[in-house]
Amino acid sequence: MRNTYLQFLQLVTGIFIAVLLGIHMVIMHLDAILGFFGVDVTEATSWESMIERAGQGVWAGLYIALLAFVLYHALNGLRGIILELAPSATTERIVTWVIIAFGIIAFIGGTYVPLALLAGQELS
């Protein structure tokens, strides 16, 4: 029963990721094609462009939300793949907790930097 809810969240996070990561991919990769439609994104990976986005709360919020969804989705997916080996209940618990711990660490690490950049921008 519990795994049913986890799997349902897998589908829901999938939809959110499709929207957020879709935006991210188009900005980062389709510059030539956006240019064709008259949208000008100059070198999204340049320091100036990156810092400009990092200073805007909307972008920081979008990226942190994307990070949360993606970490849940990818790590829950990985857990499902591992548990297909039908390990013992103890091993299953260990796998689950290692994955949760990893996810929390990755989330804290991945949130700290955008927040620090956001705060730094507001000071200067």
């Binding site: 999938g14 939809i15 499709a18 879709g22 993606v70 990818a74 039908a86 690490g109 950049l117």
Partner: protein, 147 residues
């Protein structure tokens, strides 16, 4: 009646890739899994770059970006983009399918019958075509955007 023994049909890691007669959708699912794990690997590298390297300021950031312009990284980056297109669109198909949307009316299984997956197979093939086209669009952008 024969008792089913625990783990009687246990396949081990081999069950990850082969568990009987596979139809088209099952191969797509295998690819879904491979692309998912591939993007996860990329995500971990990407997180290191956007945290540990980015916080060190402009010089380190620009050196990292310059490193990523290496052709091998470019090829890897394109593979991630293509994997994303596949995983996203096939994932939306899986969501519809698993929640039972747009699967058509159930019909009684009287021979010869088509199961719901097979009824929807033309749409599945059309989706694969869309994925291929989008992957080519990304490919064009990778070439046109300059390496």
């Amino acid at each position: 009646m024969k008792q089913i023994q625990p783990r009687q049909n246990y396949l081990g890691p081999g069950g990850w890739v082969w568990a009987g007669k596979y139809k088209l959708e099952r191969y797509l699912y295998l690819l879904h899994r491979i692309t998912g794990l591939g993007i996860l690997l990329f995500l971990l590298i990407h997180l290191v770059m956007t945290t540990i390297f980015r916080i060190q300021g402009q010089d380190v950031w620009e050196a990292t970006i310059a490193l990523l312009h290496n052709p091998w990284f470019k090829i890897g980056e394109y593979l991630v983009a293509a994997a994303f297109v596949y995983h996203a669109l096939n994932g939306l198909r899986l969501i519809l399918q698993e929640l039972g949307f747009a699967m058509g009316r159930p019909t009684p299984p009287i021979y010869p019958y088509k199961d719901s997956l097979r009824k929807k197979r033309p749409w599945t093939i059309a989706l694969v075509a869309v994925i291929v086209i989008l992957a080519l669009v990304f490919f064009y952008d990778f070439i046109a955007g300059g390496w």
